[in-house]
Amino acid sequence: MISCESTSVDDTAGIAAAVAELVIDGDLLALVGGLGAGKTAFAREFAGALGVTQRVTSPTFTLANRYEGRLVVNHLDVYRMEGAGESRDLGIDELLDDGVTLIEWADVIMAALPEARLDISFGFGDGDDDRIIRLKPHGTAWEGRSVALADALRRWSRVESEGPPC
């Protein structure tokens, strides 16, 4: 697990851009964190780093937005879902065929997600603008990239003293 510290939107943008450099078609990013923790802000910066020029807004209302940049970016929000059973209706398997998929509030449907994914959790730090962003690659899809990911995030990474696992 890689633990990063962000003290501003610029830091979050840097972290998002570093991740965006390494993603490939078919990747799934599972975003987890409370209200206002920065999931949508991360998604916006991530899509921007992939060359998306459209406005990236909260997908809470429409559930799924699709953007086209250097790669297709699928931006999902399962905040209002009941649980894993409902996620079938999102057609995640079909989405994964095309582009990179980010799912906000992914913990709601974690049981239904494929094992190969990058989990990204957002927590509050001490100051109002401080965020702790933890990244944990899963599955063979990320095996070859986890060292590169840790390198790319070195600038923001911190030694985890305590706290819950990702």
Partner: protein, 333 residues
Amino acid sequence: MSRRILGIETSCDETAAAVVEDGQKVLSSVVSSQVEIHGRFGGVVPEVASRAHVEAVLPVVGEALAVAEMEGPDLDAIAVTHGPGLIGALLVGVSAAKALSLAWDVPLLGVNHLEAHLYAAFLEEPDLEMPLVVLLVSGGHTMLIVMDGHLQYRVLGSTLDDAAGEAFDKVARHVGLGYPGGPIIDRLAAQGNRDAIRFPRAMMADGWDFSFSGVKTSVVNHMRHHPDTPVEDLAASFQEAVADVLVTKARRAAAEVGARGICLAGGVAANSRLRERLREGCAADGLRSFLPSREMCTDNAAMVAAVAWHRLAADGPSRLDLGAFPSLPMPDE
């Protein structure tokens, strides 16, 4: 000859049908709400919404026709919301409208939900003067629109992140108030001090776009540091920050385009403090304020049938392969 149009609306959590004559005279308007169902989950649950629409849509259409004392084949058109909204929910209305169109041999017309919200105002106030600034605020959208004439719009700005109504729902859920957040916060705010907490007014002075993600995060941070804040004060202060931004920008837009008045549309237009602030602001600026009734602010099918009368005359009917579009944009010049 008068034209009577059946409107069908299933874009989110209301199943609605209405018959409107000549875009103006509401012969019937029936709304079956799912609020009680979704209240248990703290928000609209998409799959539950679709199932509830399937069960409600035909009885609601039957009721709208019965109240209007009409038979289906006597209709001049069937108009249905085909976006934006939840895809599963939209498809229920669109499929029902297609089947009825085919069975009754009545023309079909797909309607934009956002445009329909603008026409809710004209049902109650047919002589609204243009140019008109419309503040469209709902759970899914926050837009500042200039209406230069019928079916002629310029979208000045919209939200960069969360919709205003989404911020109400999320704040309410975060502090454990339940769903829907808007009416609950409105009610609590009436007993609170709106100056208790100074929440940020993002982008109030610049441009035409909005941002409500920051005020949501400020509420979260405030509750972390001051968990004992009376919920009434929190509600009143949060609501004030949102209303302040919305009304300030709408007044500035009206001055900029030389509008005759400002009109509210969408579910958040039912918020009593927003209505009060807009009424006061327009009075101060010598503008007409138009505040549709609460029934017309929230999702209904009369507005769908009303805009359809204008659209049908301008564009003609849709084909039977009409699709549903969750991200259908507001028509813009």
